[in-house]
Homo-oligomer: 215 residues x 4
């Protein structure tokens, strides 16, 4: 019944849904290609082929290569800042930090391309993202640094500069996505291996918590 209903929904609506799907397919393809070859190394032809449409048609959905790149980046950034939002002042510090580390490491496992694209953009000086960094990102970090600061003030965690702590967690967790080839070259494993994933999470949690005098 439902499927019949969908089939009868009329072309207009189906089309529109197809359009949104194709847009998403393009964003996915863009993420894959951009994160491997960079903005300049990627070609629209490549992305279009991967998304299953023609280059011209791709340009019907996104006005230009740079517009597509930006759209991909925006989508990445949204996902990227999400876990930190959850770091809550009301939680037990150890639990909150452990959860945050796990959440970030999970992202590194499940969305490594997003991590890499973000990394590429930042490493190259964030020509298109600088405003986002100085605006929303900084605001979020300031807010969470305040949370960590209050824990320190209450003596619940050691006196580690909150921003350096955040950077350290970011650095370590993202390292397993961004430097995955290196990790694999050295260890022969990556995060998709459940044992390795758990060992990495545990190791990072232990380092950070002990580093803060919580273990």
């Amino acid at each position: 019944m439902d499927r019949a209903g969908e089939a009868a929904a009329g072309p207009g609506r189906r089309r529109r849904r197809d359009g949104a799907l194709r847009r998403d397919a393009v964003l996915d393809a863009g993420l894959a290609v951009f994160s491997t070859l960079g903005l300049h190394g990627a070609s629209l032809d490549q992305i279009a082929e991967r998304a299953g449409l023609s280059k011209t048609n791709l340009l019907y959905y996104f006005a230009s290569k740079e517009a597509l790149y930006l759209a991909v980046l925006q989508r990445v950034l949204t996902v990227w800042l999400d876990p930190l939002q959850a770091l809550d002042a009301g939680s037990e510090p150890a639990d909150a930090l452990k959860a945050y580390i796990r959440a970030k490491m999970t992202l590194s496992r499940d969305a490594p391309q997003a991590s890499r694209l973000f990394c590429l953009e930042i490493v190259q000086g964030a020509p298109l993202l600088r405003a986002e960094l100085a605006g929303p990102l900084r605001a979020l970090v300031d807010a969470k640094a305040a949370v960590l600061g209050s824990w320190i003030a209450q003596g619940r965690i050691g006196p580690h500069d909150p921003r350096h702590l955040i950077f350290s967690i970011w650095a370590i967790t993202q390292h397993y996505a961004d430097f995955a080839v290196q990790v694999e070259a050295v260890t022969g494993r990556d995060l998709s291996d459940p044992d390795f994933f758990e060992a990495t999470v545990a190791s990072t949690q232990r380092l950070v918590l002990a580093g803060l005098g919580l273990a």
Copy 2:
């Protein structure tokens, strides 16, 4: 005598030395441009101009764009692995680790472009460096992991997986070079500020040493 010898060396030798100087100039220019724009975003014209010669002449020194890129990468890699070599089994663990962290952070301050170029290459899957990773780099890490492993076995540092420990130190120290724009957007400072540099070194040392039960 030496100086007279040099002065009288004739065009042949002087030329050769000039040539070596120009080669270095090209490598420097290549590092600067590649680290900002990536392999594909950089143009030989740009690099040549920065190095003060013509594009055609540049191609006399390096057979192709990719050859130049590789040469730049090789030079980077050499510098890159150097500090780890110094991690010596004979030292006191705390001292050795503190020194290593400081050395790496110093590199991030003094050679951020090298760090970024290395990062770019790895993030994109290390298409040209994979062999280096699986070969020399892995061997070096294995060797140093053995050192750390011996310290653990002797109970001189906590039971933290040696490779994860190395990754964590790399991740944190390189973060301040690779994500410098982000660090600056959030904190308003960077490693060239001596106070910030020392605070960052101290913070990282404390986290790692405490994380290993050494503080």
Copy 3:
């Protein structure tokens, strides 16, 4: 009754009238854009936007870009040849020529875009208008040359080749539309200034009439 009839005419007829209005709007927009940018420099999008409809819809009214261009040209040509028709053998030569010059100069003032589009087409070799030139236009010129010729034969105007005379009048009067930017750059004025318009008409009339020994 008529108005009621119109009001009650139903969608069919009203639609048709709307259609004619939109057609005209497209022709107007086409004239404006083509006369500024030429056939190849103009885009259907531009014309459609100016006419207030979508490109696809524009192509419902005109089968192709070239078809639209031709339609615009046709409309221009009709207006263009009109004043010459009025040159009547029965009139006094001086009056007839003065009236013709004024009529042409008025067109240059009121329909400069039409003049320019016609000019563009002719200058480029009239690829789409050659037939019109060799057919109706030549016939008209032949007819009017006969009129002028009869005046010469009667000694009522000087022995100036009729066709050259017509060309001269065309050239001068159209110059103030086609080369308006140049005229304005040199004099700071254009035909929309009533004083300048009258002075230009008078000047041209004087030159031509005196040139024919009529003053």
Copy 4:
């Protein structure tokens, strides 16, 4: 001997001369194509083929299509303003005007493409030439209008506004280049026919001189 000398001149010099020749060939081809199809209608491929080189090589000589177009226009403009320079206050008015009309008509015969390209540019609003019009061209016209004005003040020619007189001569003489297709459609002849050329010159001279009371 001369030819041998040239042949022995060495590659460097021959090359350079070839380069200048090719540049000229490109300018010629550009004039031919631009004057027929306009800036937007012309393609670099077309021009390159006509000039006997590849599109890419053409772009080695001229940085962009617009740069080439401008270079062509500049060359045209130089030739264009030349005859007017010769209009000298010291001459007999009738002789000077007759000579000027002949010179302009000769240009229309020998360089009709230049005339047409100039016309195209002006008709479209002179987007790239406006500065030239308001600067050098206006200055030249002002100077020559002063000459004509002095003749009027001395009663040597009739009281015809000098600028309108100049415009009229321009309009008529250029008409035979710019509207050549129309002239040919109507008369079956063009300026390359010596009889027609002389008749046209004479006719124009008579109209203008008589118009000024000089015949």
